[in-house]
């Protein structure tokens, strides 16, 4: 399992999800804290490519042996790609939550939503409160 870390180039959602925004696209995933709380992941139920997902709504599920968690999207958009590597080997998220363990790539429908997300300092406050 990866060591605890929170990159400062990401935007965060208080439900422990991250987004890496690049122009009108973004890559989404879950934070180190989220994968640590769940334990070793055994299943990723992804959305369909082409599906529309909404900010703050569930776009899929991720499971460990004894827990299941909704994936909360930090941003709205259309799913362009699902990380097949995580579908095949969900533990990739435990090993590399910000790299190989990304979950979906989306095209943003409202890029201004990014302004509502947390930066690293803001997310650290969320973690401290838990």
């Amino acid at each position: 399992m990866a060591a605890e870390s929170y990159p400062d180039d990401l935007l965060y959602h208080p439900e422990h999800d991250w987004a890496r925004v690049d122009g009108d696209e973004a890559v989404l995933g879950i934070t180190w804290h989220a994968q640590d709380a769940l334990g070793e992941l055994v299943h990723f139920e992804p959305p369909d490519v082409g599906a529309t997902i909404g900010k703050d709504a569930s776009y899929g599920e991720i499971e460990s042996v004894k827990a299941v968690s909704d994936l909360i999207s930090p941003l709205s958009g259309e799913v362009l790609e699902v990380n097949q590597k995580v579908v095949d080997a969900p533990e990739t998220v435990n090993e590399d939550p910000y790299g190989d363990g990304w979950l979906v790539r989306i095209r943003l429908s409202d890029p201004s939503e990014r302004d509502q997300l947390l930066d690293l300092a803001g997310y650290r406050k969320v973690l401290d409160e838990e």
């Binding site: 499971e63 460990s64 042996v65 004894k66 827990a67 299941v68």
Partner: protein
């Protein structure tokens, strides 16, 4: 009270350790307004010998000495003595659901073996650890089909057991499902009617052999459902599956059924077990417990409850079902019975039932009681016309010590003269001859 160990001295010492002065003080959080202040008005306590006598007296008021030709979903098959012996092992009988696998390898391995037996019987890839009975597994299967297809209508053939249909209809509104019934044509179901009804439906449920005992054109019904993108679900009798084709071999998505015939006494309707098996595509949508194989930290084989995130204790309002307690002990009885029979014994059991039922059907016809559906092949059950209200025929036959069958008019208006007759391996030629005599008087 002989089930309680605490002496007065124990109670005093324990209350002192707790730091209260009386039992009543333990209940101080119960508001006065909701306390029950009188003695329970229930019958007085009985000692064990009095209890045994009382229950014997109640049992004696039931009539079980009439020769049983009653079926209609529950059958008078023989239950081997080894089944009773296994079920009375306290370690199995008095265990809870195997949440702690290291304490429960016996039950877990038995369920794994049961799942294997059900998969082998039905030709499916995965089975759950049991459902309540043969009716509720049909409702469970509808829930699977709804979520697998995203469709909101299920088709059930009218020749499916009426109680199965009733339970499906009771559950359906909560599931957001509409239920459509397809009538039978002369005792079996027309695949073309199924094909039309299945358009846009989530599932088609049919029974093989059907409620009338007739053999449905099951492969054609399954194909008709598949053509329409609906999941074919076969409701089958385990005792028939040494002789009749497995639903998995003719394209069914799920196979369900009442397990009572394998290993359970009739017991006035329960407890029995329902089985539910599916193709592997649906494993994550199945309701209930599933046992899986794994290894311990020394690499030794062991068994655990698996894919638990489907279940209510984890997924809560999004679970595949609310089922928790199931029918493991009865399913274990089924496994023991099937293990004693083996493949050869199961086939022979089916053939014996068919031979005796065939003899009964022919003998009744010879005596003037025509089959209701004369051109249809049957398994262990068939319907005859009694030439009068079938309920009167039952009364008349019972006067001669024969319980001759089930009056179909109870569920099918217009079939008031028809009697559904079941013949298991426990019946003899002599008993069948008595049945013919009693019904043809």
């Amino acid at each position: 009270m002989s089930f309680l160990s605490l002496t007065d001295a124990d109670r005093e010492a324990m209350l002192a350790a707790i730091g209260v002065s009386s039992i009543d003080e333990l209940f101080r959080d119960v508001p006065a307004g909701v306390r029950f202040e009188r003695e329970l008005d229930v019958p007085p306590a009985l000692t064990e010998s009095e209890l045994q006598r009382h229950l014997e007296e109640l049992a004696a008021k039931n009539v079980v000495d009439e020769v049983c030709f009653l079926g209609a979903g529950i059958y008078d098959h023989y239950v081997p003595a080894v089944v009773d012996a296994v079920l009375q092992r306290g370690e199995l009988l008095t265990a809870y659901t195997p949440y702690q696998p290291e304490m429960s390898q016996g039950v877990l391995q038995a369920i794994f073996e049961y799942q294997t037996a059900i998969c082998e019987l039905t030709g499916m890839d995965v089975s759950n650890a049991s459902g309540y009975d043969g009716t509720t597994v049909a409702a469970d299967a509808c829930f699977v089909a709804k979520h697998a297809t995203g469709r909101t209508r299920v088709v059930v053939t009218e020749a499916t057991n009426p109680q199965v249909r009733q339970v499906v209809k009771t559950y359906a509104p909560g599931f957001g499902l509409e239920v459509v019934e397809v009538p039978h044509d002369g005792g079996t179901t027309d695949p073309d009617r199924v094909r039309a009804a299945a358009e846009g439906a989530a599932a088609v449920i049919f029974q093989q052999p059907n409620f009338f005992g007739c053999l449905e054109p099951a492969p054609d019904l399954a194909a008709a459902a598949n053509d329409a993108g609906a999941l074919p679900i076969a409701h089958v009798d385990p005792i028939s599956l040494g002789v009749l084709e497995a639903p998995g071999a003719y394209g069914c998505a799920l196979a369900i059924g009442e397990g009572q015939s394998a290993g359970n006494a009739m017991s006035y309707g329960g407890p029995h077990y329902g089985f539910l098996a599916a193709r592997s595509d649906y494993i994550r949508r199945l309701p209930g417990r599933i046992v899986g194989e794994t290894v311990d930290l020394e690499g030794k084989r062991g068994f655990v409850l698996t894919l638990q995130t489907r279940e209510q204790h984890i997924r809560r309002e999004k679970a595949t079902s609310n089922i928790t307690t199931n029918q493991t002990l009865l399913a274990l009885a089924g496994l023991v019975h099937l293990s004693l029979l083996g493949p050869q014994g199961l086939a022979e059991l089916g053939e014996t039932c068919m031979a005796l039922a065939g003899y009964a059907r022919q003998s009744l016809a010879d005596a003037g009681l025509e089959p209701l559906f004369p051109d249809k092949a049957t398994f262990k059950e068939f319907a005859v016309r009694t030439g009068r209200d079938a309920r009167l025929a039952v009364t008349a036959a019972r006067a001669h010590g024969i319980y001759p069958g089930y009056p179909l008019g109870r569920d099918y208006p217009g079939l008031d003269d028809a009697l559904l007759v079941a013949v298991t391996e426990k019946r003899t030629v002599g008993e069948i001859d008595r049945l013919v005599e009693a019904l043809s008087r």
